[in-house]
Amino acid sequence: MSEWILETVDLCKYYGSGENIVKAIDHTTMHIQRGGFTAIVGRSGSGKSTLLHMLGALDRPDSGKVLIEGKDVFSLKDEQLAVFRRRKIGFIFQDFNLIPSLNVWENIVLPIGLDKKKADRGFILDLADKIGIRDKLSSLPNTLSGGQQQRVAIARALASRPAIILADEPTGSLDSSTELEVISLMKACVNEYGQTLVMITHDETISQMADRALVIADGKVVSR
């Protein structure tokens, strides 16, 4: 098994053309180790979200490769990619992005259901306990606070036990005390379940909580 769970090889993604060309990701090669918490830090417009989207196989690069557990994800067809994504990657977004018509439990087990698998009830309940939303399982998302909604999003990302959790500014919509709580929770969970957490942030404080931080500037990654 490769030492790296996630690698990029000479990854490029440009927008526009000619004078207006924006090099969102420019010949970036990087490696992320299995396990632990890696933060990708950068300013607004540095290309960090674009990088995350490609790491998560949500967007295709113009050139270069993304390897997850040694597999070139963009060699997969769309349909295979969707399956690969739901098995290997859990996403956490800044705006929580819960499905408003589903209750908390349903939101959490949805990725498992989409994979046509049965949810491990004990595991999910345990997760809900740990995250502190056990008493909210039948509530609808619009009745929850921002922090609670993000906890549900974390549970959803962890529920199918993916190898990698990709988080895009997961605390961007939260106040500072909730922010720390949520980050600690995510760290604890990935440690417990042996997953790899990759988080995009512009916040230096958060990056200091990471086991490892990568800095991205003008579309290029510089290991630190």
């Binding site: 989207h53 998560g56 949500l58 967007d59 769309d78 349909e79 969707a82 399956v83 994504r85 739901r86 098995r87 859990g90 996403f91 977004f93 705006d95 992005n97 499905i99 408003p100 018509s101 589903l102 209750n103 439990w105 349903e106 087990v109 949805l110 990725p111 498992i112 259901g113 989409l114 994979d115 046509k116 049965k118 949810a119 009830r121 039948s138 509530s139 609808l140 619009n142 009745t143 959803r156 990302a157 199918s160």
Partner: protein, 821 residues
């Protein structure tokens, strides 16, 4: 342009998709609002023009009017104009009649008497004749020639002795096809000649007149005036003639207008629901934008105005398009209707009038009405979106996702998630909106099913079979109340009934004739029911024993057998009599005056039962007895209808032989089952084509609604769908999910349309049968139409899912996730 209008204009340009849908719905609404009354009134106008061209233009005529009465009539306030005709003499010809008549100038105009050449006679020795008359007289002559004309003066007690006179031809009258066929012509003479031959006291004019102020009256009102005036002047009722064709065409039944208004209301309602639904659903994603505008300082009124002006901009473009389409389609439609269905003389004239553009088909008031009603429809549809947009606070707007305020906090949910569970959750998120969509979509379907049921029940063959039990029907052609032809009264004909044993033998010997079933008819007056100041005229059908079972099956109230009616004191009454005598019931006694042919006799019958009889059994008679009873009452066979059954493959030959036999029979007519079917087919073909075209346009409006619902459901949730994809929903699964949603709408729409539509259709069928609408007798489920509806809804649904996916794929997943507005 101020800021509000500028914003509305910018929105209008930006929301192309929504506005195109609304625009199409507005175009279709305008189209229907314009085309329906244009065709309706165009049809009436064309009919009016054709009748006015073909028939004399007087409203009524009094026969046998003397000089004084004529003078009095001329001065009556009710009379607009009056013209006189006096029959002077008859020119003797073989097997025909040529009348020499005098008509005054007004009567010439009212009777549309024109000349092919020359002028009308002015002096005592002048005459106008037609080529037909000259031919009959064996004379070749033209205008200016003097001819010797033989004639018999018409005297009060008949025709005088033949004499002849030299008369100068001043003009040539046209010879019509009808004149040639009937061998009946007329020649015109001058007033001088008339006065010389008809002394004042023996003159009996026909006074033709138009009723003053008739433009705003109904046919019935005009006829009532004519009857009242006749009573005042002492003109007997039998001498009052109404120009039925003219009155019928010119003075429209108010029920027609009610019908047109009802259809238009349905259109307006469908229009309002569709446009309203399109705006309401599209408002969901516009609301956030209105919130921002409000945050920037727009007042509620300004936001309302933005929504209103954007809507009106769409209407401003769509309405002229609808009117332009309507203008073209209405002319094409009317021409098509009369080319396909107007094969009688009047229909041909109407088709000609329409294609030559002789009547103003497009009426300014219809344009104004269509514009006004469509604008009101759009304005009403905009009320709700305007409210939503103006009431919402900027903060609420940012979060608005179209859900009506959800009070629900918890949801029971599913233990395991699946695509079906996900779809179900989405549909149940806003149950009210989902239901509203299904109901609006179903309304067109329900209407379609109701109309289809009625049309499928109007089965031409079945209706014809109820009217004619066998392939051929011979009937006596008698005419009641024609004082000019008393010999055509049934009471006169029955004394030497042409449907006699000799004829029966002759017909029976025709190859292919299997059986003749004979029914009798007896004319009666009902003493307990009045028609004006006279007893109600009706008839009793006398049926043979072969029809006993049909008779007994048709009984709806009371109970009686054919045998029980033999006693002659009980009678079976048809249900239709209850329209005229609603109080009559089983057990009551009806007093009748029977017209037996040997004078009148009085007789009372007890109503033994009430029956809903097929026309083939009762032949429009109000009462029924066994044939033997009728014949016994009259003291002679009263055969009136012979139903002739033939071998299947020999019907045509039998018909031809029968026609040959009946050739010389003046009082007998023959009708075939196939003729009746053809007539019914033509009638129902006309109705169904109009109905289905109407439904197609209405369906178009409904489809706009469906398209909008589907596209918006994707558009509104594009971010949510992006998220679902990010967490593992594959494209196949997404298509499947959208298909499931579509299936729900399809199933809901079909379920409601087919269930409520079929039920409502059945109720309408019951009503139609009860009231004799379209001659409907039996219920036939509209299988093909239901299958068609199902297929159309399915195909549209599939096409829409495909379309929606194409639109969806235009955005990348990232774009969908990233942009929430």
């Amino acid at each position: 342009m101020n800021t509000v209008s500028q914003t509305a204009w910018a929105n209008f340009k930006q929301n192309k998709g929504k506005n195109a849908l609304t625009g199409i719905a507005v175009i279709l609404t305008t189209l229907l609002l314009f085309v329906i009354p244009t065709i309706g009134f165009g049809e009436i106008d064309a009919q009016k023009a054709a009748v006015n061209e073909m028939y004399p233009t007087f409203h009524g005529m009094y026969r046998d009017v003397d000089e004084d009465t004529a003078a009095e009539l001329r001065h009556r306030a009710e009379v607009e104009v009056m013209g006189l005709r006096q029959d002077v003499a008859q020119i003797p010809i073989e097997d025909g009649t040529v009348l020499m008549i005098y008509v005054d100038e007004t009567a010439q105009g009212l009777g549309k008497i024109g000349l092919e050449e020359g002028y009308l006679p002015e002096r005592g020795n002048e005459i106008c004749v037609s080529e037909g008359i000259l031919e009959q007289l064996g004379i070749a002559a033209g205008v200016g020639d003097t001819i010797r004309v033989p004639f018999q003066v018409i005297e009060p007690d008949g025709l005088g002795l033949e004499q002849s006179e030299d008369l100068v031809i001043t003009g040539i009258l046209p010879t019509t096809k009808e004149q040639k066929e009937t061998n009946a012509y007329f020649a015109l003479v001058s007033r001088d000649l008339m006065e010389a031959r008809q002394p004042r006291e023996s003159r009996r004019y026909r006074a033709m007149f138009r009723v003053a102020g008739a433009d705003d009256m109904t046919k019935d009102a005009i006829e009532e005036i004519m009857e009242d005036m006749a009573a005042d002047l002492g003109v007997p009722e039998g001498d009052v003639v109404s120009n039925g064709d003219l009155l019928w065409a010119n003075y429209v039944d108010p029920a027609f207008y009610t019908g047109v208004v009802c259809v238009l209301l349905i259109v307006v309602l469908a229009g309002i629901m569709t446009i309203c639904s399109i705006y309401y659903i599209s408002m969901i994603y516009k609301v956030q934008e209105y919130g921002k505008i409000k945050a920037l300082g727009a007042t509620k009124r300004q936001v309302r105005q933005m929504v209103f002006r954007e809507g009106m901009l769409v209407a401003g473009i769509a309405i002229p398009v609808g009117l332009a389409l309507g203008t073209v389609l209405s002319k094409m439609g009317l021409r098509y209707l009369w080319m396909s269905f107007g094969d009688n003389a009047q229909g041909k004239v109407m088709a000609q009038i329409i294609s030559q553009g002789r009547i103003p088909l497009w009426k300014p008031w219809i344009y104004i009405m269509a514009v006004a009603v469509t604008l009101v429809t759009v304005a009403v549809s905009l009320i709700r979106p305007m409210q939503i947009a103006s009431k919402i606070t900027p903060v609420e707007a940012m979060r608005y996702n179209g859900d009506m305020k959800i009070r629900q906090e918890k949801r029971k949910g599913h233990r395991e998630m699946s695509l079906t569970a996900l779809t179900g959750a989405n549909l149940s998120r806003n149950k009210k909106r989902t239901l509203l969509t299904v109901v609006t979509l179903s309304l067109t379907g329900i209407l379609f099913m109701v109309l289809s049921t009625v049309l499928s029940c109007a089965d031409p063959r079945e209706i014809a079979r109820a009217e004619m039990f066998d392939d051929l029907l011979i009937s006596v052609e008698s005419r009641s109340g024609d004082k000019m032809h008393p010999e055509r009264e049934w009471t006169a004909i029955c004394k030497d009934d042409p449907l006699n044993e000799d004829l029966e033998k002759e017909i029976g010997s025709i190859p292919g004739v299997k059986k003749i079933t004979r029914s009798s008819e007896l004319h009666v007056y009902l003493k307990d029911l009045m028609d004006g100041d006279q007893f109600w005229r009706d008839s009793i059908i006398g049926i043979p024993k072969e029809y006993a079972a049909r008779m007994e099956d048709s009984i709806v109230q009371g109970d009686v057998t054919y045998e029980e009616l033999y006693q002659g004191d009980k009678i079976l009454m048809d249900k239709n009599m209850l329209h005229w005598a609603p109080d009559w019931k089983v057990g009551d006694t009806v007093d009748m005056i029977l017209e037996t042919g040997d004078g009148q006799t009085e007789r009372s019958f007890e109503i033994a039962a009430v029956a809903d009889m097929p026309e083939g059994l009762r032949h429009y008679a109000g009462f029924l007895l066994p044939k033997e009873v009728v014949d016994t009452l009259c003291g002679r066979p009263m055969d009136y209808y012979w139903s002739v059954d033939t071998e299947k493959d020999q019907t045509e030959n039998a018909e031809q032989s029968l026609r040959a036999i009946l050739e010389g029979q003046e009082f007998l007519g023959l009708e075939t089952y196939e003729e009746r079917v053809a007539y019914n087919e033509k009638n129902s073909g006309f109705t169904s084509q109009i109905c289905y075209v109407f439904m197609a346009v209405l369906g178009g409006i409904g489809i706009m609604n469906l398209v909008n619902t589907m596209i918006n459901s994707i558009y509104v949730r594009r971010r949510e769908l992006g998220i679902l994809q990010a967490i593992g929903l594959s494209e196949k699964q997404m298509v499947r999910m959208l298909q499931l949603e579509g299936m729900f709408y399809t199933a809901g729409t079909l379920g409601l349309s087919l269930s409520i539509g079929s039920l409502a259709g059945y109720l309408v069928f019951l009503y139609a049968r009860e009231n004799g609408i379209l001659g409907i007798v039996g219920y036939h489920y509209p299988v093909w139409q239901a299958a068609f509806l199902t297929a159309v809804v399915f195909v549209i649904q599939l096409a829409l899912t495909y379309l929606v996916m194409r639109i969806f794929r235009r955005q990348s997943m990232i774009e969908r996730i990233r942009f929430s507005d």
